[in-house]
């Protein structure tokens, strides 16, 4: 077996063990009762799962924005497609498999994968216009597509329309979140490091030269969109079965921007950097919330800490002016293309 596969499987095994430990290792809570680690540290566990979901989202988007050089601003739309598709599946058919723990988990994983496929299909729809568009136009079209997906959901009564959709089984746990995270990282890394996947980088670096070398740029761009959307759909499904309630407004433009900021901060085209940035930017709002409650700080500072988007936007501007390749990025965005 290849080394990368060994790494993947041992990582999955490790996550399985951690998950088992979290669920079955008992500690005493404040009043002396024995509770599992998850119950005791539920706040931190929630943050941990959110980090995992954001890693899947950001690494998937990095394939489109970072490695292939297309600028997508509609990642939340794909996430919505996956979240709603998988929730609809588990709500409609999940119980027909029986109520046991195994059946629920089985239904969850199948629904996640089908949700990913639904998102991938919507990614295909966006990928096709992207063939003729670049940069700014593509950004706006993907943004518009995000709005369209949102609009369709808002008008679809079977999906709860404006009321949102709730009542999903809480199937998301540490193992599935991070297992899918590991698979996402594995697929993206294996792809871009393979001979075949070099095409993504070629499209990014110089589309015209790549085409002249016989690379089917169309195929690579669409493939990047479809794969990125697939992973976003998976992340959406995990998110839906974690929060157990989803609403169309939760997948708006701002959510897309969140993911874009993760990719840019981490460095476009650096998977490790993007993972670190996803973790950092998930923890940051929690830290800011903590800061905004410190009485000793001046009033205005606490107000700014409450509104993390001010800091995010300043971060974007300052990063672009001083270090456009991101914290860990390898891409040299400073050089102007001829």
């Amino acid at each position: 077996m290849e080394r990368s596969k060994v790494t993947l499987f041992s990582t999955l095994l490790l996550f399985g063990l951690i998950s088992f430990g979290l669920n079955h290792f008992h500690v005493a809570d404040g009043s002396g009762h024995a509770v599992t680690l998850i119950q005791k540290y539920s706040y931190y566990y929630d943050i941990l799962l959110t980090i995992g979901i954001n890693i899947i989202l950001a690494v998937g988007l990095n394939l489109v924005n970072g490695y292939t050089g297309q600028f997508s601003l509609g990642h939340a739309g794909f996430m919505a497609a996956g979240a709603y598709a998988s929730s609809w599946l588990t709500l409609s058919y999940g119980y027909s498999l029986g109520g046991g723990a195994f059946a629920t988990t089985f239904a969850f994983v199948i629904a996640l994968l089908l949700g990913g496929v639904a998102a991938a299909f919507s990614g295909l729809l966006v990928g096709v216009p992207s063939l003729r568009l670049k940069g700014d136009y593509l950004a706006i079209v993907t943004l518009g597509f995000n709005e369209i997906i949102k609009g369709v959901i808002q008008n679809c009564d079977a999906l709860g329309a404006q009321r949102g959709l709730g009542g999903m089984a809480p199937s998301t746990n540490f193992f599935w979140t991070y297992a899918f995270g590991a698979v996402t990282v594995y697929v993206v890394l294996s792809l871009v490091n393979s001979t075949y996947g070099r095409g993504f980088l070629a499209v990014r670096d110089d589309e015209i030269a790549a085409e002249a070398m016989g690379i089917n740029t169309t195929k690579y761009k669409v493939l990047a969109f479809v794969l990125g959307a697939f992973f976003a759909g998976i992340a959406g499904g995990i998110y839906a079965h974690f929060k157990q309630f989803i609403h169309p407004e939760g997948f708006n433009f701002m959510k897309s921007v969140d993911v874009v900021v993760m990719v840019i901060l981490g460095g476009m085209g650096s998977t490790a950097g993007v993972c670190v940035a996803a973790a950092l930017l998930t923890i940051l709002p929690e830290v800011l919330r903590y800061v905004s409650h410190i009485e000793a700080l001046p009033e205005w500072l606490r107000h700014i800490a409450e509104n993390r988007m001010i800091l995010y936007s300043l971060l974007l501007i300052v990063l672009m002016l001083t270090r456009p390749q991101g914290l860990f990025g390898a891409v040299n965005l400073k050089r102007k293309k001829a």
């Binding site: 600028f71 216009p129 136009y137 950004a139 518009g144 015209i208 001010i310 936007s313 974007l316 672009m320």
Partner: protein, 322 residues
């Protein structure tokens, strides 16, 4: 039959007044694209700042200048209301300065960098204005001060069936001021030296520079001009819908962008035409269809335009040079 026609005309009137707002914003997008070949994402938020400039300065200006003697008494006496005009000019001037400052601080240092860097910066500026606006002005919608008293205009019975239409004073003002501003803009672009420099720059930046045009000045001027129009749009729209909030620029900005693309980005007449068209389409969707489909239909239209005719209705195609 006549009632149906009347209803259609009513939607047309509503659409044209909303479309004028989109057209004014779209002009700014198109002008900046013309000289810099990039989309100023923050443009919609300058429009929001224009509305807030009116919110803060409007009452003071009304105190200083008064509403004029003719307001309310003559059929169109409000057009002579000095406070409204001064507020409009103040907001336009303020937005022009803001536009120039944004360009100087955020876009000029990046002019030699790849487009993606500038695009991300523009998104950053846009988010900063929106969230900074929420921080500075508060999140809740504010009610815009009543600078003119909006009312339905009476159409004489002698005009026949048309007298059944409801046309408000603000709709007339919006359409009229937009037309006026477009004529002024056209004069600037076609007749003045600065306008000639703008056209030269958009035609060929390198050659323009070689001919002795100071492109920094021209770009600043373009940003100022576009932002002033957005500021005017902010004031005009607030006269009709007196509820303003820091995120009002997001949707309007996107719609105006769609309008600019529809008309052919970089083309001034195209932006005006596109804005009016988008406004009318929206009004028709709301009037005859489902209002919740308004935004998806506009964005769907954008995707279709870009697929079928990426240069827009009036745009000229540009050949890519290797």
């Amino acid at each position: 039959m006549a009632d149906k026609l009347l209803e259609f005309l009513q939607q047309l009137v509503n659409g044209l007044s909303q479309g004028s707002i989109y057209a004014l914003i779209a002009l700014g997008y198109t002008m900046v694209f013309g000289v810099l070949r990039f989309i100023n994402f923050a443009h919609g938020d300058v429009y929001m700042l224009g509305a807030f400039a009116g919110f803060y300065f409007g009452p003071k200006v009304t105190q200083l200048f008064g509403r004029g003697a003719a307001a309310g008494s003559m059929p169109l006496g409000d057009l002579l209301n000095p406070a409204a005009w001064v507020t409009l000019l103040v907001a336009m001037a303020l937005c022009a300065v803001i536009g120039i400052v944004i360009e100087r601080l955020c876009y000029r240092p990046l002019r030699e960098r790849p487009k993606l860097t500038v695009l991300i910066t523009a998104i950053g500026v846009s988010l900063f204005l929106e969230n900074g606006g929420q921080y500075a002005f508060g999140v809740d919608p504010k009610s815009f001060p009543e600078i003119i008293t909006d009312r339905a205009l009476e159409i004489p019975e002698s005009w026949g069936k048309i007298s059944g239409l409801t046309v408000t004073l603000s709709q007339v003002l919006i359409f009229g001021v937009t037309l006026l501003l477009m004529l002024v803009l056209r004069h600037i672009v076609v007749k003045t030296r600065m306008g000639m420099a703008m056209r030269a720059l958009s035609f060929n930046p390198v050659a323009a520079q070689l001919m002795g045009i100071n492109i920094d000045v021209v770009i600043s001027f373009t940003f100022g001009l576009g932002s002033a129009l957005a500021g005017a749009a902010g004031i005009l729209t607030s006269m009709q819908q007196p509820s303003i909030d820091p995120l009002m620029g997001v949707n309007a900005g996107l719609k105006a962008f769609v309008a600019a693309v529809l008309g052919g980005i970089g083309n001034l007449q195209g932006a005006a035409l596109g804005g009016l068209l988008i406004g009318v389409v929206e009004a028709l969707v709301v009037g005859y269809g489902n209002p919740t489909y308004r935004d998806p239909i506009v964005f769907g239209a954008l995707i279709v335009i870009l697929l079928l005719k990426p240069t827009g209705l009036l745009g000229a195609s540009e050949r890519e040079k290797v």
